[in-house]
């Protein structure tokens, strides 16, 4: 298809949906009276509810059902897929890696974000300093992975061969030998996690910075007059005031990390024992053709997300109620 053809198809699609909305508004406009309100609501809700039912609810139910079937998807095998996830060596590595990701990333990203937010708070060039940390948020995970893959790039340690990756060059400068950072488990997973921390720290910094600025001035001033040290200020004034925001940031990053796929897929493709649940789901479903196991992994992801989301929403409510 030509570029013009693609944009034409795009225009058609947009017009089609705008037309659907137009028709609904027109028909709804014809209905009058108190009883008509129900019909208006019905018409307004139909497209969204229909799409959610067909595109979200049905597929989710279907996947749960499919997770009890074998690789080809036609023989019922009960909980065997789930048993595989929790017993086979390969899948246990995947689970171990996922736990590592979910434990390390939120705390590291939040810690760095919080530290930076405090350091640059009310500093000169604050907006600029924040933008530097925040920009990785706008970059795709794929882009970030390429950026870091270049940092980790390895060239064999031979005479006449120069390192082109920054990390190995730094190692050479201080007298070490270059390493294949992405090849040796379990450390390679940590180098992948670093990319996620790099992306998410900006998110933590922005939200926490806003929370810090929302602390009433008189509280800070009163503590200062009492002669509280900076560390004490952080411990007894800042941290308690922003606690709900910290929890929301931790859980939000945790949810995002649980579903991380792009980084693993772009940097190692899940090789060298770096796979995580979301990547394994893709590999099993679309590469290895094991639909049952893929479905079970997706369901596992679903189940793992629920408690964090529920906790997150409750904290978000608590933060808003203040």
């Amino acid at each position: 298809m030509t570029t013009a053809g693609k944009f034409l198809e795009m225009g058609t699609a947009i017009l089609l949906f705008v037309a659907v909305v137009g028709v609904i508004l027109f028909v709804a406009g014809r209905l009058g009276g108190r009883r008509g309100d129900r019909w208006v609501a019905f018409l307004y809700l139909t497209p969204a509810v229909l799409m959610l039912a067909v595109g979200l609810i049905y597929p989710a139910a279907r996947t749960i059902y499919q997770s009890f079937f074998d690789a080809a998807g036609d023989t019922f095998i009960g909980l065997d897929n789930y048993q595989t996830i929790f017993t086979s060596d390969e899948q246990l590595t995947v689970l171990r890696n996922t736990v590592l990701w979910v434990v390390v990333t939120p705390f590291a990203a939040t810690g760095i974000g919080l530290l930076y937010a405090i350091l640059v708070d009310r500093a000169r060039l604050e907006a600029f300093a924040k933008a530097l940390i925040f920009l990785p948020m706008a970059i795709s995970f794929v882009g970030a992975s390429i950026i870091w893959k270049f940092v980790y790039e390895y060239r064999p340690d031979q005479v006449g061969v120069k390192q082109i990756g920054l990390l190995n060059q730094v190692l050479v400068w201080i007298g070490g030998t270059p390493q294949q950072w992405l090849v040796d488990p379990p450390w390679n997973t940590l180098f992948l996690i670093l990319v996620m921390i790099w992306i998410q720290a900006g998110f933590a910094m922005t939200v926490l910075s806003a929370a810090i600025k929302a602390i009433p001035d008189d509280v800070v001033e009163a503590a200062r007059l009492d002669g509280v040290t900076p560390v004490g200020m952080f411990r007894y004034v800042t941290l308690p005031s922003i606690r709900p925001a910290v929890v929301v940031v931790l859980t939000t990053i945790g949810i995002g990390t649980l579903k991380v796929f792009d980084i693993v897929r772009t940097m190692t493709g899940g090789q060298f024992d770096t796979s995580v649940v979301a990547n394994e789901f893709y590999s099993q479903s679309f590469r290895s053709g094991n639909e049952g196991l893929g479905a079970a992994l997706a369901v596992l992801l679903f189940v793992l997300v629920i408690p964090i989301v529920v906790y997150n929403i409750r904290q978000l409510r608590a933060a808003e109620a203040r």
């Binding site: 208006v40 969204a48 799409m51 989710a60 749960i64 948020m137 795709s140 950026i147 082109i164």
Partner: protein, 304 residues
């Protein structure tokens, strides 16, 4: 690298006569604190900077010397960008770049149109089962998209739209709806009911209220969601990989880059320029509309 400019000496006027306050502030802005901030800022920008410099170097040099040697012996070329942007040849990512736009724009507009209607109904029309339905839509935010992909693909095969943009537009729209409805509903509820009541007394129907009263007030909310959704769709890999395949007909630039990175890990001249082409669009959108973004960000963190 102007990152080193992030000096931390405060400009905040200290309340007069409070020596303690001044001292506390001084300690916070100690040289160590400044140093820590500068170190973080450098660590966070240097990797991107290195790839940016590399994208402007000749292919042979990228592959044999580190980008930091560029400053000793600068040779600038735009060949990498030329190769990456051309729509012809096996190396060109030009058509993938076009696809990214074609995918993203409807995937932002469609869910906003449908969500505005639904949010209005939830916020301002009374009907039986309203709260149950709303909670159900809200709860759908937690469904990870992985759970839906394979059955959706089967549905698309049956509908015979596989390999077209429609699969990606529809998927992104569906995945965006719960959050969009929830966000817009919350903003609509914040509008004083008196405003709507006044319009109703003046004889305005739902349509007039929607367009004349609500829509102008909702611009910030729509913008917040639009930016969030734009970045999400533009940067997405999973949905595109599942439904678009790898060909240049439909696949966006993220898919092209991911494949390039996997199969030809050493094509750094293409990867660096390609990555920057893909990065520049969301960064510009983000910088232009930053103030709307933060709000959408916090609300949208659960998505995916």
């Amino acid at each position: 690298m102007t990152a080193t400019d992030t000096s931390l000496s405060t400009t905040t006027p200290v309340t007069k006569g409070s020596g303690i306050s001044a001292r506390a502030r001084k300690r916070l802005t100690s040289p160590w604190a400044s140093l820590a901030a500068v170190v973080i800022a450098v660590l966070w920008t240097l990797p991107t900077f290195g790839l940016a410099v590399s994208s402007l170097r000749p292919e042979r040099e990228i592959k044999t010397t580190g980008w930091w040697t560029f400053f000793r012996d600068p040779t600038i070329t735009l060949d990498n960008y030329r190769a990456v942007l051309s729509a012809e040849g096996s190396e060109g990512l030009g058509s993938f770049f076009v696809n990214s736009f074609v995918i993203t724009i409807p995937s932002v507009i469609i869910p906003i149109c449908l969500a505005l209607l639904a949010a209005y109904a939830f916020a301002w029309i009374r009907f039986p089962g309203r709260s149950v339905l709303f909670v159900a839509v809200f709860a759908l935010q937690i469904v990870p998209i992985q759970v839906t992909l394979i059955p959706l693909l089967t549905l698309y095969v049956k509908a015979d739209i596989v390999g077209s943009f429609w699969t990606i537009w529809l998927s992104h729209s569906i995945f965006a709806l719960p959050l969009a409805i929830f966000l817009l509903h919350n903003f609509m509820r914040d509008i004083p009911p008196g405003l709507l009541e006044a319009a109703r007394i003046d004889g305005a129907g739902h349509r007039q209220i929607f367009f004349r009263v609500l829509l102008p007030l909702l611009t910030p909310a729509v913008a917040a969601f639009a930016i969030f959704q734009f970045l999400w769709v533009w940067n997405d890999l999973l949905v595109a990989l599942t439904f678009a395949g790898g060909g240049s007909e439909v696949a966006p630039i993220t898919v092209a880059l991911a494949n390039l990175s996997g199969t030809r890990g050493t094509a750094w001249h293409l990867l660096s320029a390609g990555a920057f082409v893909s990065i520049i669009v969301p960064v510009v959108v983000f910088l232009l509309l930053q103030r709307y973004f933060v709000r959408g960000l916090l609300a949208g963190g659960l998505k995916g």
